[in-house]
């Protein structure tokens, strides 16, 4: 299970109106600053079941101090950087910090912690109505959807548009920290750099991504299987009828019609 998930989405927004006309030299220096502006969306997993299970190695309070230092570092790197924090709870998700709002300008840490506490209390109160069955999953899809809506809004209002290819392959970094004590160092060295500078860095590369699917019938992870052509349900064995959409499969399984050599026995079929 991944410990920390960070969706880091750099962006180059910000209005020209922020700067009154200056002498040419100074203007160029400011332009450089503007080009490196990033919007950083941080999704914090506040799932209490998870944090309880790792409290001996990294208590939540310590984790927060790492993250706060990281957020401060981002704002320190460039005054125009924007930081938005979304809490991913067990029962709900919510925005807890946005550095572009007036509340986010002063006393950032106090404001963030106060909002986080409110969020955790609310999240807990929602929990009581439901019987809890063990450490459940966090609502990452919800907070990620919110983050994407926010990014879309920034793109809408800004003069720049997302690069079509960039949205196809996000080019993000997945990192599982080895030593939890050094979390801040991981964050500042890997995630604090803007998109431009990342091209020059040797960032951790994924060691093989698992693109396998799990079948609908037994929930097994498979690397070969049968797909219903009507509803795209995945099965690990050949079926006569699709259990999802009820289609009856007319013919024998379409054994890759384009196989050039049928005689060759494949290792998986054997």
């Amino acid at each position: 299970m991944p410990l920390f998930r960070f969706a880091v989405v750099p962006q180059v927004p910000s209005g020209l109106s922020l700067f009154p006309p200056l002498s040419l030299r100074r203007r160029r220096r400011f332009a450089d600053v503007r080009n490196d502006v990033s919007l950083l969306m941080v999704l914090i997993d506040t799932n209490p079941f998870f944090w309880n299970s790792v409290k001996s190695t990294l208590p939540f309070s310590k984790f927060l101090s790492h993250v706060l230092a990281f957020l401060n570092a981002i704002v320190l790197l460039n005054q125009l950087n924007q930081v938005v924090v979304i809490a991913t709870g067990y029962n709900s998700c919510d925005y807890i910090f946005d550095s572009s709002t007036s509340e986010g300008q002063t006393q950032r840490a106090e404001y963030l912690l106060q909002k986080l506490e409110e969020f955790v209390n609310k999240d807990e109160s929602l929990c009581r109505e439901d019987s809890v069955d063990g450490p459940g999953f966090s609502l990452l899809s919800g907070s990620l959807s919110m983050a994407l809506c926010y990014i879309q809004r920034v793109f809408r209002s800004g003069p720049l548009h997302p690069h079509p290819r960039a949205s196809y392959i996000t080019g993000g970094v997945y990192l599982k920290p080895q030593l939890l004590d050094g979390l801040f160092q991981y964050l500042s060295t890997v995630f604090a750099t803007d998109l431009h500078s990342r091209g020059f860095l040797q960032l951790p590369k994924p060691a093989g991504v698992d693109f396998r699917a799990s079948c609908f019938c037994h929930k097994n992870t498979i690397d070969m299987g049968y797909i219903c052509s009507v509803c795209l349900s995945i099965f690990c064995k050949h079926q006569k009828k699709c259990s999802t959409c009820g289609s009856v499969f007319g013919q024998a399984p379409v054994h890759d019609s384009s196989t050039p050599d049928r005689k060759r026995k494949t290792p998986m079929d054997a």
């Binding site: 929602l126 609502l139 809506c149 926010y150 809004r153 396998r212 049968y226 379409v254």
Partner: protein, 422 residues
């Protein structure tokens, strides 16, 4: 007397020529100061308000209304959709495609829209394939074979943009029909014809060809660029496709993009079947191996076929060695939203809008203020399942790109309700 008449005739002729020259000048060579008015038609983006003052047209609400119409047609009911599509794009590159009523010319505009369409098509139909056929000099030419890589199609198309001769609809249909006859029975066969010409120059009886297309279950759709042509309309009616004629470039784009989402499937058209597919794993970075598609040694990246262990550069594809269809689970997952679309959001009634106590201040998705300048409530929508409020921009983004309701996804209870319902 006779002399005078001929003189008159000559003069009249000359005058006609001059007028023609004038026409030409009107059509093409504007003075620089005129061009901004003639090309941009800036007056069309203005409208009068109640007091007779001019103001810019409210594009946002117009755009939103358009989107709602689109949404209603696509998510009307849970209709079976043809998710595995084999689509040929037939582009008319006859003399008529060189006409300059679209700027700079019809074929350039068509190519531009086709490029955008191909990207959108693969985004929405990751398991489908496209091929391109051109009509030129009375013959049909297969520009690219069926394939799943948008870049290769676009590259070839952009290199072949010249127009000449006549277009032959029959030759094009014959070619496409024979190509589509080879695809597996579970696939949906489609042709999208972008037709500039007003005629077709055929070697035989086109009606027979149309019947042949109908028999091999090829769905033919035509988008005309000039005017309605009977034979195109007849073709579409017979084969279950759609026929439309574009008014201008933006309308053309709209019409072309209507073909990106999968069309409702007709049960007899494709036999339900189980398809054997492999889910290759992405190889670790830094591993050197020779890929089977380009026959080149590559460092890192790429995928490994689970059956024959060959290296492939891109997904989805068919393994060059053993012929297994290779996809990744995200490709499948990205097709599921066509089967289980998220429910359209409801408009928030004005009575709720006028009561600020019920209305949250910000959009649930993007935190944008739901109040117009001057603290007047702006129009917004709400999800019927999770009851969260969203701004109109998020509404469009959620239904057209995200395919996830942030509200439903971020509450455990609404989530369990929605999964039980789905």
């Amino acid at each position: 007397m006779l002399q005078k008449e001929s003189n008159d005739g000559e003069r009249r002729f000359n005058r006609e020529e001059e007028e023609e020259d004038d026409d030409d000048a009107d059509g093409r060579g504007h003075d620089a100061w005129e061009r901004t008015y003639a090309d941009e038609r800036s007056w069309e983006s203005l409208q009068e308000d109640e007091s007779g003052l001019l103001r810019p047209i409210d594009n946002k609400s117009l755009y939103h209304a358009q989107y709602r119409r689109r949404l209603r047609t696509t998510t009307a009911a849970r209709i079976q959709k043809g998710l595995i599509r084999y689509l040929y794009i037939m582009i008319d590159l006859s003399r008529a495609a060189g006409e300059m009523d679209y700027k700079p010319s019809r074929m350039v505009v068509v190519a531009r829209q086709v490029e955008a369409f191909i990207r959108e098509f693969f985004d929405q139909n990751p398991l489908s394939q496209i091929g391109i056929v051109t009509l030129k000099d009375g013959v049909a030419h297969s520009l690219t074979d069926l394939g799943g890589s948008p870049e290769s199609h676009i590259k070839v198309l952009m290199g072949k943009l010249t127009s000449s001769g006549d277009a032959s609809l029959q030759n094009g249909l014959d070619l496409v029909q024979s190509l589509l006859n080879q695809i597996p029975t579970y696939g949906h066969r489609e042709v999208l014809i972008l037709y500039s010409a007003l005629s077709t120059c055929d070697p035989g009886d086109i009606m027979e060809t149309i019947q042949k297309c109908k028999a091999s279950k090829v769905r033919c759709s035509v988008i005309g660029l000039s005017a309605e042509v009977y034979i195109c309309k007849h073709l579409c009616q017979e084969t279950g496709g759609s026929y439309s004629v574009a008014l201008d470039e933006s309308h053309l784009k709209e019409l072309v993009f209507e073909h990106a989402p999968p069309p409702p499937a007709i049960a007899e058209f494709a036999v339900a079947n189980l398809i054997k597919m492999g889910f290759p794993q992405r190889a670790a970075e830094g591993v050197i191996s020779i890929c089977s598609c380009h026959k080149e040694a590559k460092v890192g990246g790429g995928y490994t076929c689970p059956r024959c262990k060959a290296r492939i550069c891109d997904l989805p594809t068919e393994c060059q060695i053993c012929g297994l269809t290779l996809v990744s689970s995200p490709h499948l997952a990205r097709s599921y939203h066509h089967l289980f679309p998220i429910t359209p959001f409801d408009d928030v009634s004005p009575s709720v809008l006028s009561d600020p106590r019920h209305l949250p201040k910000n959009c649930f998705g993007c935190q944008q203020s739901l109040l117009n300048p001057g603290n007047m409530p702006a129009s917004c929508v709400s999800c019927p399942k999770c009851k969260q409020y969203f701004c109109l921009d998020c509404d469009i983004y959620i239904h057209e790109s995200l395919h996830n309701c942030p509200g439903c996804e971020s509450f455990r209870h609404s989530k369990s309700v929605s999964t039980a319902g789905g």
